[in-house]
Symmetry: C2
């Protein structure tokens, strides 16, 4: 397999080093990998001053404000939290330690299925520097080398964090490679480095993830884009529905598991829609509605056709009236990004129908969509939330950073 051409010459060297490091890491014991992680955690704590100084450089160079600036900001307690997260990953079970699966064929061949690291994992992400550390910890825990392509607004913070992590004793050279974030060519080269990189995980806006999916020749795990729906059924407990709608929409509107659409059963529309629209507006949410919603609450502006497919990622929601649970399922399967959807109902038949027929990674009955998260699921960590059906679906972490391999032992068998 020949190395694909790189438009950035240094990048070819970085990927070759990562490939070599992956071969070494794959042979490390769990104890060895965990020792490295604990050293990384220590190095981050003792390097806090220089990390904060680098972060200060990023902050003074950047033109972000408000919550975007806050995503970039580090302080001593956030640095400590990053180190703690690495320690927590070290304490998780070894994802390469599987129960051995082996069998003997009638011809005497012994076939053993073993779990192995993926190899070289590429991750493309934006501002938050803690993602740099989390991703490194998860990849090394699973025996992979990692190639990071962070956002340019966090360039100095990421550079310093990677320098510090790379001083760790026992870590092979190339295990953590940070790509040039000043040019989009590093993204293009990374996603087309077939044979050098085993998987690319893009994190970011729906547009960015689409760009990666459409241009990658390396296998991709699609993450994150979440046009999440809430369906309030005729038999819903209205108080519960209120709590779930307000929580899913407003508790953290910029994240992928926040609700973007509200569907209401037509039999309760006249009663429930004015009530929830008022609460949404009181909470600072911009509400749009379909024609039927407008008839009930005329002050709500009309939702345009593209709104139904859009992830607003802000305090905005579109509301539609549907005929019944099947209408809700149909609407969701047509418009959702297959991330997370919830039904609020007291009717178990409708709930089962929704759970079975809605074709999304996580489907809820009487709970907020905001629980779609590796930590909330009890996985102890999270690499992202997959919205595709291959390899992994929903919140994923360590196990999904591994692959398998067959080792076959014979005594001279040939195929007749």
């Amino acid at each position: 397999m020949t190395t694909p051409a790189q438009s950035l010459p240094e990048m070819g060297n970085q990927l070759a080093r990562a490939r070599q490091a992956a071969a070494e890491l794959a042979q490390f014991s769990a104890v060895h990998r965990n020792t490295i992680l604990l050293s990384i955690a220590k190095a981050i704590v003792s390097g806090a001053d220089s990390i904060l100084a680098a972060n200060e450089e990023d902050l003074s160079a950047c033109e972000l404000s408000g919550s975007m600036r806050d995503r970039l900001l580090l302080n001593r307690s956030r640095v400590n939290a990053m180190a703690e997260a690495v320690q927590n990953v070290a304490e998780l079970p070894d994802p390469l330690q599987d129960e051995p699966i082996e069998w003997i064929r009638p011809n005497g061949l012994l076939i053993r299925k073993v779990r192995v690291p993926l190899g070289v994992v590429g991750i493309i992400y934006e501002s938050r520097p803690n993602v740099t550390v989390d991703a490194v910890a998860l990849c090394i825990k699973a025996g992979n080398a990692i190639v990071l392509r962070g956002g340019k607004e966090a360039a100095q913070s990421n550079r310093r964090l990677v320098e510090i992590m790379n001083t760790t004793a026992g870590l092979p050279r190339g295990a953590i490679e940070l790509l040039d974030s000043s040019t989009r060519n590093s993204v293009k080269d990374l996603i087309s480095a077939r044979g050098m990189v085993d998987v690319v995980i893009p994190r970011g806006s729906a547009e960015f993830i689409s760009f990666v999916v459409e241009n990658a020749t390396v296998p991709v795990i699609e993450t994150g884009a979440g046009n999440c729906h809430i369906f309030v059924d005729a038999s819903a407990d209205f108080d519960m529905a209120d709590r779930i709608v307000i929580n899913a929409k407003t508790q953290r509107p910029s994240v992928c598991n926040a609700a973007e659409k509200l569907l209401v059963h037509r039999d309760i529309a006249r009663e429930y829609i004015p009530r929830i629209v008022r609460q949404l507006i009181d909470s600072g949410v911009e509400v749009r509605g379909d024609a039927a919603v407008q008839k009930i609450v005329p002050e709500v502006p009309v939702a345009k056709a593209p709104d139904w497919d859009l992830e607003f990622l802000r305090m905005c929601i579109a509301v539609a009236i549907v005929q019944d649970v099947d209408g809700a399922i149909q609407h969701i399967n047509l418009h959702s990004t297959k991330h997370s959807e919830t039904i609020v109902t007291s009717n178990e038949v409708n709930a089962r129908r929704f759970l079975n027929y809605v074709d999304s990674a996580v489907v809820y009955w009487n709970a907020s969509t905001r629980f779609s998260d590796g930590g909330e699921f009890g996985f102890g960590a999270e690499m992202g939330i997959s919205t595709q059906k291959l390899h992994c679906r929903g919140p994923f972490a360590l196990r999904e950073l591994t692959s398998l391999k067959y080792q076959v032992v014979g005594n001279g068998q040939i195929r007749p």
Copy 2:
């Protein structure tokens, strides 16, 4: 999610029908799916005359000869074998029947991980009409709709087979869609139908698979390309090595698990290379060698640089001398397509090293590479052999045609 534009208008309808059928199939019980398979098997047997007539049309239109023509040819016993294969798939365990995995979080949420079909599976393949039937049987068994894009040389055979299978009672309309094989646009449209097709499985030449990987926006399972290696170590039993080399190279040279390269430990090169080269030539194999091999057997022509990365798929092999097991591992990891490789040795340390460090889907110790096959592995069927590390690796069949989904049941939980 909006439907991607299709250059072939009819194809948009076909994919929409498949999407709809997939939603229905996903709810069928195992008994229902198996009943459909048994009906398909019966329909094939009773439709034999018209299948053979259609196949006759393909044969008279085609310009293939020899083994390529034979791949296309159907006769009564081959038709019966196709039906039998469907029956066998019906008898396999249900891939959607998993042990239920569920857990309760401290906040009371019940999280259940359930196995579900992938949805719509696209498969692109060439001449052999039995692939049409095998792929349909595996997809329906796993609850998927299937979109087939066969080779144009088998157009009439495939059309008739799909017509016959589509008459089966209980099969939703759209469960089996056959695309126009007369234009490459149907391939391009299929691999870019993101949101309509959940996975595409290309089968064919390395060039064709590369084309699909480079142009697809739909997730792909890469299959098949096999630049497989045999390493004969210093301590190898020469008789065993002879049998394995001749079997892996000559028993069926046109398939992906046939050997393409022979690496020999330098300590035995003077003794072993003349012996095996003679046997290979006597078996009708064209032998090429590196400079060191040429010194020992001067009549062997030199292998060119691209030969080491090439899948010959014919009676041709390239031979190189390596320093030791690490040299062999390094050569293989640089040049192989990560399909199947074997070491012939009596030295367990070297064997373990080879099994652990060679980064391929199937790694053998003292056996022919020709065993990389779902049937030979005991899976009862095969959809292909994956050479990527995501989702599945090595021979794959029913289980790998499924995905998962989380169903979460609460009583009003919101995220604090």
